[in-house]
């Protein structure tokens, strides 16, 4: 998805292209520092939205590429980060439209660590994964932004493309749905 095979003549032509670097919005050092700070949370967000780790890998690179090519000026680190999450949200939405039937929020279960409380924790995570999977993608995205990323209502509105005034109500409803699902553990062996 990110690159394709190139012929020798194409590589030769690329070598002669100048100005492509200038088309990217950041210097290499700035990009690398920004990537190191944000890649993991963005990947986690994409993995929750798409439910597909391989797709999240692809979308992560696409997200950073589009961010670099956007050329937009950012007032702050938070603004830059919000732009990144907005791009990621749009890409996940597009991927969802293309695939339609998508097992959202179904990354592989983590390996069981050897802690004393492993059983309880493992079961809790399984329940949370199951409950999240039952939510609408928008609810899932909002909850993740609010409670995993600590985004403000204004930031969530910017990322999700909704009015700031609507976020409180939308978040309340999403939270209510998840709380209700978490309060009703699925039957043993259920999906």
């Amino acid at each position: 998805m990110f690159t394709r095979d190139m012929t020798v003549s194409e590589v030769d032509r690329l070598a002669g292209v100048t100005g492509a670097e200038a088309a990217l919005a950041m210097t290499e050092d700035a990009f690398r520092a920004f990537y190191d700070r944000t890649a993991r949370p963005v990947w986690g967000y994409l993995a929750r939205l798409t439910g597909d780790r391989a797709l999240a890998d692809d979308l992560l690179q696409e997200t950073f590429y589009r961010f670099l090519r956007s050329g937009a000026a950012h007032e702050s680190e938070a603004h830059r980060r919000n732009t990144l999450f907005k791009i990621a949200t749009n890409l996940a939405r597009d991927a969802h439209r293309r695939r339609r039937v998508m097992p959202f929020f179904a990354p592989e279960l983590p390996d069981v660590p050897s802690h004393d409380d492993v059983g309880a924790r493992f079961e809790r995570q399984t329940d949370v994964g199951r409950a999240m999977r039952a939510l609408k993608p928008r609810d899932r995205a909002m909850l993740w932004l609010a409670y995993a990323e600590g985004s403000s209502h204004q930031e969530i509105a910017g990322v999700m493309g909704v009015k700031t005034g609507s976020v409180k109500l939308l978040l309340f409803r999403a939270r209510r749905r998840l709380a209700a699902l978490l309060g009703q553990p699925a039957a043993k062996g259920g999906a």
Partner: protein, 171 residues
Amino acid sequence: MARISCPHEDDVLMLATTGQWPDRADAELRAHVATCQVCADVALVALAIEDERAGTPEPSLPSSGTVWWRAQLRAKQDAVRESGRPITVAHAVLLAVAGGLAGAIFGATTDWFQRGLRAGREAVGSVLSNIPLPSVPADSTWLATYGSALAVGGVIMVAATAVVIWALREE
């Protein structure tokens, strides 16, 4: 009407996301959460998501250098693709118009082309006159008058359409 927010929810959220809920919460706040649906939901959801996040296996992400290098490569590929794009729709339309004009001038100034057109028109007219078509009157001069113009126009339209389709496929 149910409340959708509570003045204490930020305190609950802060404690839940920093791993301090419920142990570090004071008794008053714990008592409030026991009776407040909003705060109870915030605590439950925040703890669940925090747990889920903490339990996610570490992804093997490409290094920043690799992503930067790929972005550079792809930016160059895109630049080459854009600069090498052979024709745009505007170019195609311009080409079609120019082709049409050249064809019209050629048709109007070339004797053998006009003789050929006349012969073709007569041949078509004679064929049509032998076929009893209800929509074409037997004594119609319409075809004789406009037939050649129609033929040239048709050829130009077909050529222009073909050029536009070709250009769009290149896009």
